[in-house]
Amino acid sequence: MILLLAYCAVLLSFVSGLLALLMNQRHALLALCQTCFKKFPGSRNQCRAFVFGNLDEQRFPVFLRQAVFVILGLSGLFAVLAGLSVLVSKDVITDQIGLGLPWLPWHVRFDGLSGFFFLIIGIAVGAVSLYGPGYVSGYQESRHPFAVLGLFTGLFVAGMLLVLLADDAFMFMIAWELMSVASYFLVAFQHENAANRRAAFLYLLMAEVGALAIILGFGVLASFADGFTFDALRESHLSATWASIAFGLALLGFGMKAGIVPVHVWLPEAHPVAPSHISALMSGVMLKVALYGLIRFSFDLLADIQWQWGVVLLILGTVSALGGILYAMVQANLKRLLAYSSVENIGIIFMVLGLAMIFMDNGHPQLAALGFLAALFHAFNHALFKNLLFLGAGILHHQTHELNIDMMGGLIKKMPQTSLLFLIGCMSISSLPLFNGFVSEWLAFQTALQADVLDNGVLRSLIPVAAAALALTAALAAACFVKVFGLIFLGQSRSQHSEKAREVADKTMLAGPMLLAALCFLIGIFPGLVINLINSVSEQLLGQTMPNDSALGWLWLAPVSAQQASYSPALVLIGALIAGCVSFWYLRRDPVLKTMRRAAPWDCGFGGLTPRMQYSSNAFSMPIRRIFAKVWLIDERIDKDMQGAMDQDVAAVHYHIDIQDHSWPLLYQPIGHGINTLAKQVGRIQTGNIRTYLGYSFVTLVLMLWVIS
């Protein structure tokens, strides 16, 4: 039954994709319906009117778009239901589908871990499908056919869901690559821009390399097992070295998809160019699927965790978290910034997962469960708020046709609802108390603080350092999102577009973000809801749950014991409400003082503020750029146009800044260069002269004969 729900989710997403293909087949449909009605003349007139009304030339595209997204939304709903029911029932359901290799049908397994990620996907897909119809209506059908977008969106979602269901390496890889390829087409959807094509190429290339690494990881396991099913792979007892090799390969593969530094570079290229609801799915959900893969691979298949892996994850996670947020800080393109911020959040998740591994191998399964919980919880939260922010960015793009935050400003008055939703997203991602992001970071800190129980001195001193890096990350994230919100919504409009922007007319477009924002807040106040679900995951996977001290009641979060740490967001909310209301009412008790006087702000006597006087994105991040100057490759130039006698007067000043990632010159350019050089060298063997070719043949023959005798 539960599995049926899951299958429904997958099938519906397929169906939505296929339905989108009908976009260009209106005439065929029309003909089909006419013959149908001729055959069954008894059909009701209303039904007929409905069908033909929707097949009307004007109406049809709108109708089809809505239908596609409704079905996609249903798929999301089924995914949520399936996920919840498997989490609540704590079942493990297995099945086989008659596809795949002759001796290896697709094995399906639906357990708590899959269920939890089903839940994440379901929520995100649900929100996206509420938002979708309004957003895609902005595309011109002739330039950007909906059939392509809808088809690959459906396939993308189906691929992600299938990855979670897979119980053998072969099906896993098929689903995994389906997800990659479908999202590649989505990234390349608006392929007129060279930037999009580049990004798509880079994305697919890295997806391919990552997938190969994963296959090899499975290969290592499979060469010690008989078969590719996960059951068989679980039984392959590897030596420590081989297990580490397998883990390293899996980490490379899944890390590439998840966007771990230094293999994160596709992320900031691909996310900005994809349609926003796709970026939301990619960033919010697909990265989580990569996380799922890593968890499945290491905690489930390898099972015998080694603490060294944890250290690797911890270090990589820390670097990614810090690197991600620092790079995000200096971006002016909103979606690029969000993409880098995804790198940061994935870094945090990996960091905590690393902690869990360290505790696991050092004989503290309870603490491992805590770290595991923090990681999964943060994954869940990140899916919520990153989705929210990407959808918000989509709305902004839809309304202002801009993604450069230096071109926005003052939108809070023009788009009050969007701004509120976006603010909630910013607050969640900055991990401010009362919102969900804070809870998972709090749990992460709590995990790190348990380092004292470890015997290894190096680990004990390493973990607090990582925790401090986490603190720095969180603070920088707050700075970054102050910049984002402040520059986009506050101040004065910086461009014509944002001056003319209006709130979205189609309110369903706001429904998706609204759902996510509500969840952000709800989970922030009642984290127990999700934590209970994750506990059933870790019970299945690790055999341990977080020792939540129930003595304090369900409103409380006491991960280790009430003595050590506790947090009750609900009580904090009550306190905040009391404090806020009291001060508010007390200070405004005098009706005369209630009114505020509006006046022009102080302009230093220069006669009016102009939007250009405001701090820009680069100006805002300038102190941080100065402080962490080594982190980026910065090319900063100030050109002055001189005029007048002796060219002494400055007519205009041009400021250029170009910020690059270190990983390009250090990692990717040498590889690209190397391959091109190699190809050039290899090209030399093909001289064009037939005598040389005969010579090759001759030498090969002689050499082979010599070898053989």
């Binding site: 090209g683 064009g688 005598r691 023959l701 004969l705 010599w706």
Partner: protein, 249 residues
């Protein structure tokens, strides 16, 4: 192995083998096309004689047929065709300078030794005669290839190609008393068609490059002449920040 202990048939075959090997050497060192073709025809004749001897000694009917085929194709038709081409193209006066003839001959000689070396392991299971015959035919094959590598005229290539066929044929006759009939016929047919095709190609090549020098056929290659242009673009492959990776744009 003592040659005087072998029967007359074997002695004859061995002599033929030696002669065939010798003709291959002669061809390798030959720089005049007409002589080359003549030596090739002579090799074909030797082959025919070998076939006859084999046919006679084993009383194998179908070897006679193949002897006739060889005679017709390799001694008459192909040399005639090649000779006609040479005369038509006025190539018979050209002396193609073989840059290092001595090295070439030494190389050929070492190839012969090499053939013996390669085939040596089979001597345990077979007679030394066979070893000789096979080694000679292998060296004829290899020498034919060497001929093609060292000569630039398309005509010489055809001769080399056909002499490789001769080597194979020799092996087939001596070692196994010929192949099954159907195969022999098939091979002969292939050789015939190949010869015709060569004729067609001489015509095409001549009309296209006005020469039969195969070194001039070098338009299709992968060597980079304009290295600089690629250098400029090479780091652009996957770097989205520099220029456009679509190199050819």
């Amino acid at each position: 192995m003592n040659i005087e202990l072998q029967d007359i048939y074997t002695q004859a075959i061995l002599s033929m083998a030696a002669l065939v090997g010798l003709t291959s050497f002669l061809m390798l060192g030959q720089s005049r096309l007409l002589r080359l073709i003549f030596v090739f025809a002579f090799q074909g004749l030797l082959l025919t004689m070998t076939t006859m001897v084999a046919a006679y000694s084993t009383d194998n009917q179908h070897l006679y047929i193949s002897a006739v085929l060889t005679l017709a194709l390799k001694v008459v038709f192909i040399p005639w065709m090649l000779r006609r081409e040479v005369l038509k193209m006025n190539l018979h006066r050209d002396i193609q300078a073989l840059s290092n003839q001595t090295t070439l001959m030494l190389g050929g000689a070492s190839l012969m030794v090499f053939s013996y070396y390669v085939l040596h392991p089979i001597v345990q299971t077979t007679s030394p005669v066979m070893l000789n015959a096979l080694a000679v035919s292998l060296s004829v094959v290899l020498l034919g290839m060497l001929l093609m590598i060292s000569h630039r005229q398309a005509i010489a290539h055809v001769v080399g190609f056909m002499s490789i066929e001769n080597g194979l044929f020799f092996a087939a006759i001596v070692a196994t008393n010929g192949m099954p009939m159907v195969v022999e016929l098939g091979v002969a047919f292939d050789v015939l068609v190949a010869a015709v095709l060569f004729g067609i190609f001489f015509f095409h090549i001549r009309t296209s490059i006005d020469s039969l020098d195969v070194d001039l056929l070098n338009r299709l290659h992968e060597v980079d002449e304009q290295g600089a242009r690629h250098d400029k673009n090479r780091s652009a492959v996957i770097n989205p920040h520099t220029a456009d990776y679509e190199v050819n744009r």
